[in-house]
Amino acid sequence: MSEQDTGRKAKPALSKVRRDQNRREFLRTLGLGVGVVGVSLAGLLPLIGAANARLRPPGAIKDLLDEQQFLAACIKCGQCVQVCPVEAIKLADLLDGVGVGVPYIDARAQACDFSCDGLQCVLACPTGALTHHLDFPADTRMGYARLNRPDACLAMQGKGFKGLARGPEFRGTLRYAEVDRWTPVPVADHPYDLELCDLCARQCPIEIRIIECAAEKPPEPGQVARVAEKIGNECPPRHAIALEPMPGGQGMMPVIKDGCVGCGVCEMICPVEPTAIVIDIDRVTEVPV
């Protein structure tokens, strides 16, 4: 204090011009701050009414209506995009606000068919936004299928289906184990000829896996066959979808079972335009323990 009194270290009073400059700089800077923070907060707007809610890859940590944790944990790097063999995963754009750079699946264009077998996206995720607490496709819960246009469903009208499920221009791919066990092929290269359309059930990865498991030979007495030694939900314990006879009708009705994981293959393969079956992202069933 005494030093300041002697005036040796006291700062000279600022001139009026300098004070004005400082004031203007402060106001400008305040404006910059409000602007940038305002834009960043605008990123929260799409959360209203869950406008940025989407079908997420397997293992996305979320509750029924809330994916706050998933959006928080995702570091927006796209490693899940890079490992997906059917290129089902896309990154959301800025219109998703805080969801920018976060992975999603547009099931109608390309669903997750689990043809990587090992949930590669989950393994690739560096932050656990796709939780590592699942091992097999039957463990995942992305959503739940729903027949949203029963009147349009070919099976319910008793109709068959002949030709390309989604036309020659469709870019989506699926694994057809009978064609190639390891490489997914374009749906447009795989014509069908069905007396009764059962595409949603026929291509369901969970149903396919159940059939595969049933076909595998049980181990001979006294020897343990490695392939037959199933753990956890490696073999889906519950069905996901089945065609059941309609009461008093000639057609069959797709019925969604509690083994449905919401992968979206049924939505992708449905030959009706627009699709008769969709995935609800706010409904899932319990995972069998």
Binding site: V36, S40, L71, A73, C74, K76, C77, G78, Q79, L94
Partner: protein, 325 residues
């Protein structure tokens, strides 16, 4: 110690006062005194600058840096396009031949919002922390950040326009960067969302390169237009928390730019090209505490000052390397 304090003041955007005479070494005082007795004429200085402008060294570090930055970012693109799996992911987080890397600021935002760090993220964060600590901290900004490069080109345009007096650099208080930093930390913690990542031009431009362009690039374009027509390098100078995070990493980093008072002509060309010119205030006559001083941690180690200095008074140095060798 004053290196650390000055660095922290620079990073926080606080003014760094000229050193008190008692803190300056006798040697440096002697050099300053000799210089004030024997001033170089304007013609001599101009001749030295002109001779330097024609040498191959004029853009040596800039060229090396641009090549490095482009290669780093292209490896991401090529790895994905041709599925060579060298570097998977984007600038925010990646796997480099299998090893986890995570951008420190992105990892911070995620951890604050999610309030949990899985082991892979811890590994990625520590790896990157060590890497950029060794390389100088804010070296990330000028040698790796994709936005930095396009912002440099925008800056070139801004300076051309400013030279013709078509635009005027609107300046802000540099302290606002640390205010932004605190705001984005609090927002991530309180809202549970990675609010900064939404507007980070580093993340947006890195993803756009690798996964294809989108609407988000319009935000990057808006920032660039602001920098061309309103305020020079505004994002990196006044806003970006990534720079501040890496600046803190660089506080104790061994890789620095060193200033040599003896050979300096105090023309100030280095401060004109610098993104963070306050770190070069020590090149003003009378400001250095000793004959050789390290440029503080807010420096991005871009090397523009090293390139432009006609007398090699600014050079890259690795602390302790001379002792080891």
């Amino acid at each position: 110690m004053s290196y650390m304090l000055d660095s922290l003041r620079h990073l926080a955007g606080l003014p760094v006062e000229r050193p008190a005479p008692e803190r300056q070494s006798q040697e440096v005082k002697f050099i300053y005194e000799r210089k004030s007795q024997k001033r170089l004429t304007k013609e001599t200085l101009e001749a030295i600058d002109a001779a330097h402008a024609g040498t191959a060294k004029r853009h040596k570090w800039r060229n090396r840096r641009w090549i490095t930055l482009i290669i780093v970012n292209l490896i991401f693109v090529v790895s994905f396009q041709f599925d060579v799996q060298l570097v998977e992911g984007a600038m925010t987080a990646s796997r480099v031949v299998g090893f986890h890397f995570a951008d420190l600021n992105s990892a911070l935002q995620v951890s604050l919002a999610y309030k949990h760090m899985v082991l892979n993220l811890v590994i990625g964060t520590v790896t990157v922390l060590i890497l950029w600590w060794l390389l100088g901290g804010r070296t990330f900004c000028s040698w790796a950040c994709p936005y930095h490069l396009i912002a440099e080109w925008a800056e070139w345009l801004h300076l051309k326009l400013a030279a013709r007096k078509w635009v005027r650099d609107v300046r802000f208080h540099r302290g606002v960067r640390s205010v932004f930093y605190a705001i984005f930390v609090v927002l991530a913690l309180a809202s549970g969302y990675t609010v900064f990542e939404t507007i980070s031009p580093t993340g947006i431009s890195s993803r756009a390169l690798i996964y294809g362009p989108g609407i988000a690039l319009l935000w990057v374009l808006a920032l660039l237009l602001f920098e061309v027509f309103v305020s020079r390098r505004a994002w990196c100078r006044y806003v970006c928390p990534i720079g501040l995070t890496y600046g803190l990493v660089g506080l104790t980093s061994p890789l620095r730019v060193q200033y040599n008072v003896e050979s300096c002509h105090h023309e100030g060309e280095c401060r004109k090209v610098c993104l963070v010119p306050h770190v070069l205030d020590l090149t003003i006559k009378g400001r250095a505490e000793d004959t050789k001083v390290d440029v503080a941690a807010d420096c991005t180690r871009c090397g523009l000052c090293v390139d432009i200095c006609p007398t090699d008074s600014l050079t890259f140095t690795v602390k302790g390397l001379a002792k080891v060798l």
